[in-house]
Symmetry: C2
């Protein structure tokens, strides 16, 4: 059975779609069979990425690698509870079905609390949560006492993941792996970076997540979106020769991430 | 009557809460009477900022300046249409009431489509939309043809603002001002920055928004969140002497923004 990996964080702009698209392409290039879902039905960033990739590929006569890409139709039920229940069921069956045929099933989640997103948390084997290097982002994971600087209590997104972990343990006797990855790391910021890093380290021990090798703030991670490409594709479009130092470093950060995940 | 200014963008992490808190404090320091609303009921970043500020202020016996801070209680109606209608009405009356007593009413909106957020778009005199320097963020404003690089059509967030502009013109014969501000600008990224800049310039003429002086990616814009402070407060907490060049530049960016808005 394939592994269902969701890229999730209710915090907007943490880097879910960026990390989802980069992981999808990197795993495909490593020879894995990958199915990808975009359950951010409103913004559809990953859907748009795949559309851009298809247009770029066909216009230039390339043979870029593509995942099996699927979305999950939203329920049209009028009554809210019926609608959420139908969204939940459709998400569960779609993800389970994909796991029958694909080694890796990646799910890009919205920066909002939706029935589909909750169902994805329930069906996931692993959750990857990107976080900006900021106490604003950290706040959704845990509250920090403004006086003592100590972690005072887990906050609502941690609680939601804990709930999903507990349910998976009780219903399936299986372990829900939770990974947190620092994203958009600055090269120059020393003090804030250290403080956020320490807070994440402490929290990882306290509420049980694994810290993944982080990604720096790099233009290449966003510049290729209109073409549906990632840094890992550049060799296939003849642009890997004379790659800048920053791009070589970007590619290494993605490789480190994939390696650490041991997919 | 006071001016109702909402900081809004359905795109998550564009910088709404960061810009809202910095504008609120800067305007207070400029002697304005400010009322601030946080209608992101889930994440409550601006609410947390104000709580952190209060604790920091009282713990250190300071006399930091505070806005009148309000939130709008969510409806508890079971049926979805009734709930949205009640949210809409409460938001409208709360904002109108604040505009009776305060020169400036700032509203921090969520990175999601909620009834309160829609009502805020309907009541606003001005909308400030932050955007990361990225075609991922740009995508919510307008779609770009992957082949020609031309703007092909406005996307759903632009359409929502257009709807609000049209309604305001028809019902109140008043002009809804729309501002877009580039946020988290990189110092070093040349090509992507230029491309995104050109796309925003073209779009501003085509769909009618004013471009504000942007904010750079600077640690100081996020580092002071746990204390509920902004760069504009540092002189009041005795930390403005020996400010780094980057901090002096950060303060100037906020001043340019306030000046341009001519509040
Ligand atoms: N490591 C990075 N380096 C440079 N830019 C990045 C990086 N990660 C993300 N970005 C940019 O930051 C913004 C937010 O990223 P992204 O859209 O992937 O986040 P998200 O969590 O999917 O957001 P949402 O909650 O809206 O779905 C985008 O403009 C993206 O291009
Ligand atoms: N100019 C900036 N320089 C440095 N960091 C910034 C800047 N603007 C925003 N950030 C950081 O980027 C992240 C997103 O910013 P913020 O939370 O203000 O966005 P938002 O639009 O309110 O997000 P949401 O949609 O989740 O409400 C935060 O971690 C914040 O600290
Ligand atoms: Mg996304
Ligand atoms: Mg916010």
């Amino acid at each position: 059975l394939g592994k269902i990996i969701i890229i999730a964080n209710e915090k907007g702009g943490a880097g879910k779609s960026t990390i989802a698209t980069h992981l999808i392409i990197a795993c495909l290039k490593a020879g894995k069979k990958v199915c990808a879902f975009d359950i951010d039905n409103r913004q559809q960033t990953t859907t748009r990425f795949m559309e851009n990739r298809r247009v770029f590929n066909d216009t230039h006569g390339l043979s870029l690698i593509f995942p099996e890409f699927r979305s999950i139709e939203l329920s049209k039920e009028e009554e809210i509870k019926a609608r959420q229940e139908e969204d939940r069921e459709r998400t569960n069956s779609a993800l389970k079905a994909a796991a029958q045929d694909y080694e890796l099933v990646f799910v890009d989640c919205p920066g909002a609390d939706t029935a589909q997103a909750r169902a994805a948390h329930g069906s996931a084997d692993a959750i990857i949560t990107p976080v900006n290097d900021s106490f604003i982002d950290f706040d959704l994971l845990a509250k920090i006492d403004p006086v003592t600087d100590e972690i005072s209590a887990p906050n609502f997104y941690s609680q939601m993941v804990w709930e999903a972990k507990k349910n998976k343990a009780m219903k399936e006797r299986a372990h829900l792996e939770w990974f947190v990855i620092r994203n958009r790391l600055s090269q120059i910021d020393a003090r804030n970076k250290r403080r956020v890093g320490e807070a994440i380290e402490k929290l990882s021990k306290r509420i049980g997540f694994t810290i993944l090798p982080g990604l720096s703030e790099r233009v290449i991670f966003r510049e290729l979106f209109p073409k549906g490409l990632t840094i890992m594709d550049l060799e296939d479009v003849g642009e890997a020769n004379g790659m800048s130092l920053s791009n070589v470093a970007a590619r290494q950060e993605i490789r480190n991430l994939v390696q650490f995940l041991n997919l």
